[in-house]
Amino acid sequence: MHSSGEAPAVIVSSAVRKFADTPGGLLPLLHEIQAGLGFIPSDSVVTIASGMGLSRAEVHGVISFYHDFRDKPGGQKTIHVCRAEACQAVGSRQLEAHVKTRLGVDYGETTVDGRFTLEPVYCLGNCACGPSVRIADDVFARVDADRFDELLGDI
């Protein structure tokens, strides 16, 4: 999601300026870029590295270590399906299969219409009322196949 109208280079350089002096500021910096652009463009690594006094390898290493950061654009919204145990106990394995078929994608992929990127998540803290699904910043409880289809229809 490219939520602000600004040019990517502007977003990157202003984020770098904002966090250059923050101790351990690389994570908040990357979050800020991803919030603005939807991903962290590979050509921004040079700017980030020089602004933060790090090597390009270090910046790249951090981006690839964390599941949240993506280096390619995703869909308009990310759908996270909880794969962890408490949700498994109430049928998340079946839900997971349904979601993949319904969206026609596997984890890490974006639907052909560009609306959704599907990602796994390991617990959303909604474990008493699973299966849990997060769409953008909203969490949904007791999601079975029908409920999932209904949610998609509502978006």
Partner: protein, 517 residues
């Protein structure tokens, strides 16, 4: 005017609380009813969410679970304390599931407006800090030591001893960090607390800062908790404006600055040294210990790393005294345990009780058995690295040592219930798969072993070289157990071995002896 409470908690909203609130506002307006709508946190009785409460004098009365479609009917029937509506639950404090708990840490959750300092204070908040401000650092540490409080993040290390080490390590800059990574599946207590009673965490961290002479704090919050982030951000701003955070706190001459750092979806960053690396802006690679974080932690300086619930409990310890806290519990497990009943459970949610109750009591009495109505078959306690317990072990008291004795662990208090549809081979496989996905990659037994583990279990599932592969799997578990740098690789064998030991039939697929699915 009717005062109505509807939680803004993640689970309540996941069940439709926002829609219920909107519907209440709309229907009230239609009827010309004068209502004041308050958004509280949740009391943690998630099986009753969305829980709608009305205030009447000193009391609150509840209806639940209330879905948007119920609202019009509720208003027509009248929202009052002698309602005969089928969703009427009576006086909230009389709901047995809640009244049977001993709530110390969660006493305010769902009761107060999470962002009202006045309400927080009215319910005993900041009494602990007031006392701590009149004590020396050593006295605070002593109170925490005497309370018997042990870390709630999983390892159950005595909190007072950790703080003493930081206090006694000289440095111009020390840090207090709250581990709010809460990655264990089946757990939500940290989240619930941060959303329902955020000042308690802030107060606990401030007391900790006074106790160890720290001036800077960080809350390391997982990115999966956007609501908690919102609430904490606001709470910190409110505390700063009230001079409860920042420079010269309450005119004491002491400074404590607090910031939130958001994780980025890595389970391993809940491990304390990985968390510190992440706070430093690096990959979350686990550090070798020693040095302990208490001596060389964040940016190489002495650092307290404590779980959210540990820090929250400190405000109770200071407010009510070490003896009061110490009085609850069993054996060397003192105080209360915040159990999170989850998975296939009829009455799931947060149950805070003194250590010592049995798992069976929790799952049967509080939990009411499975949501599916089928028999309980296995209970996983303590997150993804915790054991699966068969019925023969359900009488084990909830106590750190008692759990260790049966080859299990309490961890952060997650209790995940499975009915008899569970396939324990699949669960063992998932434990290995999860380790493969979330390993930080620093050591081989964990990084490679987990991938091998998945392969072996797949072969066993296909009855391919079964007995040889079972032996290899056990050898692999042993290697991971003894050869891993941290508990990620070291404890992944725990769920696997417990599944093998207690549910061997599930590993005999295709042999004609096992359970076929």
């Amino acid at each position: 005017m009717v005062k109505i409470y509807i939680p803004a908690d993640t689970t309540a909203c996941a069940l439709g609380a926002d829609k219920v609130a909107a519907e209440v506002a709309l229907q009230a307006q239609k009827r010309g009813l004068d209502v004041e709508l308050k958004r509280n946190g949740s009391r943690g009785a998630f099986w009753l969410e969305p829980l709608l409460e009305i205030e009447s004098g000193e009391d609150r009365f509840a209806f639940g679970p209330v879905y948007p479609g119920d609202v019009a009917g509720l208003l027509d029937a009248g929202l009052h304390e002698s309602s005969e509506h089928p969703l009427f639950l009576g006086r909230v404090t009389d709901i047995e599931w809640l009244s049977r708990q001993d709530r110390l840490t969660f006493s305010r959750a769902g009761v107060i407006d999470p962002l009202s300092l006045d309400e927080y204070r009215r319910e005993g908040g900041y009494e602990g800090l007031d006392k701590a401000l009149a004590m020396t650092a050593g006295e605070i540490v002593e109170a925490v030591t005497d309370s018997g409080l042990r870390g709630r993040g999983g390892a159950a290390f005595p909190t007072g001893i950790k703080w003493r080490t930081v206090l006694n390590t000289p440095s111009d800059q020390k840090y207090v960090t709250a581990n709010a990574d809460e990655g264990d599946s089946g757990t939500f207590a940290d989240r619930l607390l941060m959303e329902a009673d955020p000042f308690q965490l802030i107060e606990g961290m401030t007391i900790c800062a006074l106790a160890v002479d720290a001036t800077q704090g960080y809350i390391y919050l997982r990115s999966e908790y956007p609501k908690a982030l919102q609430v904490l951000n606001q709470a910190i701003a409110i505390a700063e404006a009230a001079n409860l955070l920042g420079s010269d706190i309450c005119g004491s001459g002491r400074d404590f600055h607090l910031q939130i750092r958001v994780g980025a979806g890595a389970y391993i960053c809940g491990e304390e040294t990985s968390m510190l690396e992440s706070l430093e802006g690096k990959r979350g690679l686990v550090r070798f210990k020693p040095p302990l974080p208490a001596i060389e932690g964040l940016f190489g300086e002495p650092t307290v790393v404590n779980n959210v619930l540990t820090l929250a409990a400190v405000s109770t310890v200071l407010a009510k005294g070490a003896a009061y806290y110490q009085d609850y519990g069993s054996g060397r497990s003192r105080g209360t345990l915040s159990v999170q009943l989850s998975g296939n459970i009829r009455r799931g949610g947060l149950v805070e009780i003194p250590f010592g109750a049995s798992l069976r009591e929790l799952v049967e009495d509080f939990g009411g058995g499975t949501a599916s109505g089928r028999p309980v078959r296995a209970i996983q306690v303590g997150g993804p690295l915790g054991a699966y317990l068969p019925e023969s072990q359900w009488d084990t008291p909830l106590d750190y040592e008692a759990f260790t004795d049966v080859g299990a662990m309490l961890g952060h208090g997650g209790v995940v219930v499975f009915d008899d549809n569970v396939d324990m081979l699949e669960q063992a496989r998932f434990a290995m798969e999860f380790c493969a996905v979330e390993s930080c990659g620093k050591c081989t037994p964990c990084r490679i072993g987990s991938v091998r583990g998945v392969e072996l279990i797949d072969k066993i599932g296909k009855n391919d070289g079964r007995s040889a592969n079972l032996e290899l799997l056990e050898a692999l578990c042993e290697t991971m157990d003894v050869g891993s740098l941290c508990a990620m690789g070291g404890l992944t064998p725990m769920p696997v071995r417990s599944a093998l030991k207690h549910f061997p039939g599930d590993f005999e697929r295709g042999t004609g002896n096992g359970i076929e699915r």
